[in-house]
Symmetry: C2
Subunit: 156 residues, 2 copies
DNA sequence: AAGTTGACTTTAGTCAACTGAAGTCAGTTC
DNA sequence: GAACTGACTTCAGTTGACTAAAGTCAACTT
């Protein structure tokens, strides 16, 4: 059986579910500035401990603990690699779960660009055609969905 | 690999811009668990101080300071309204800037659903046709963009 | 006139995340 | 063999977000 809640909370109090909300789970993983910026760096292609640290602007200790948490949460993998003439190093690379967060990162990026007082001269484009990329809400039937036409469904 | 950097962005270290990144700006506003959950509630249609507090599960003091911060950041408006037989009350309603965050909230929701060990029986649907809503990366030319085809560009 | 309600503020304290600085340790270059 | 490098760990201290509990205050009900 399925209960429909229209956009305007008909029964919101019937399912106050502290701790089970998927948004809470996601924020537990990438809900701090540094964790999200590490994901940003991983999307940009950064792979090494040292680079994550200085590009995000955080201390060694914080870099270590954040990377560890993201590996444990399954967003990054940690593996060693070897370049000729160098000792073995570690690299941190996005997993599929990590790549699945890409729309969120792009969404935050575009939101920040749109609403910043002085946005930096950056943009995210489609590599194929060079036009600007945005995040859109699309349903399985292919409709573009407006904010007002979203509906939260509770299955029972 | 995941994202191509064009032009001078090929050297990522040439533009380490602590504090200017739009993602940092966005995380400064909704980068805590409670701030994001307040936005969730606002999307669900919650408008009153008391309801935000108990539905998110936070103390009065935290409710007050988070709502205040979100109003100051321009994501919510605070206004009074009057129902017959009741005193005037305050309501907190999403602004356009707040609604612009919707794709991020839906993205976090769906990410949490996909990657939770035991996802709750919830889903976000299109109110018009009842099918599941997801966030997609779409360029201005209308192409659906894969994670690997994103490019960060610096405007000159 | 007394009581209730909604939206707070204040106080006092906890806790997790962060910082800088220093130390560790194995492998690589000189 | 000595110095260097990358990826850490450890330590001591700070900051910011959060909590519970109590107090405030104006508007409304009884």
């Amino acid at each position: 059986m399925v209960m429909r809640l229209s956009g305007k909370l008909e029964n919101r109090d019937a399912w106050v579910t502290h701790g089970v909300c998927p948004i809470e789970k996601a924020m537990g993983v990438v809900g701090s500035r540094n964790a999200m910026l590490i994901m940003r760096e991983a999307f940009y292609g950064t792979t090494r401990f040292e680079d994550f640290g200085h590009r995000v602007g955080m201390s060694d200790a914080t870099t270590a603990s954040n990377l560890k948490a993201l590996v444990e949460a399954g967003l990054l993998t940690r593996s060693s690699y070897k370049e000729a003439g160098h000792r073995t190093r570690l690299e941190y690379v996005l997993t599929e779960a990590g790549r699945d967060l890409m729309p969120v990162v792009v969404g935050l990026f575009n939101w920040g660009m749109k609403h910043a007082a002085a946005p930096p001269p950056l943009a995210i484009d489609h590599d194929g055609c060079g036009t600007h990329v945005d995040v859109r809400l699309v349903c399985d039937a292919g409709h573009e969905v407006a904010t007002d036409d979203l509906e939260l469904r509770v299955a029972r």
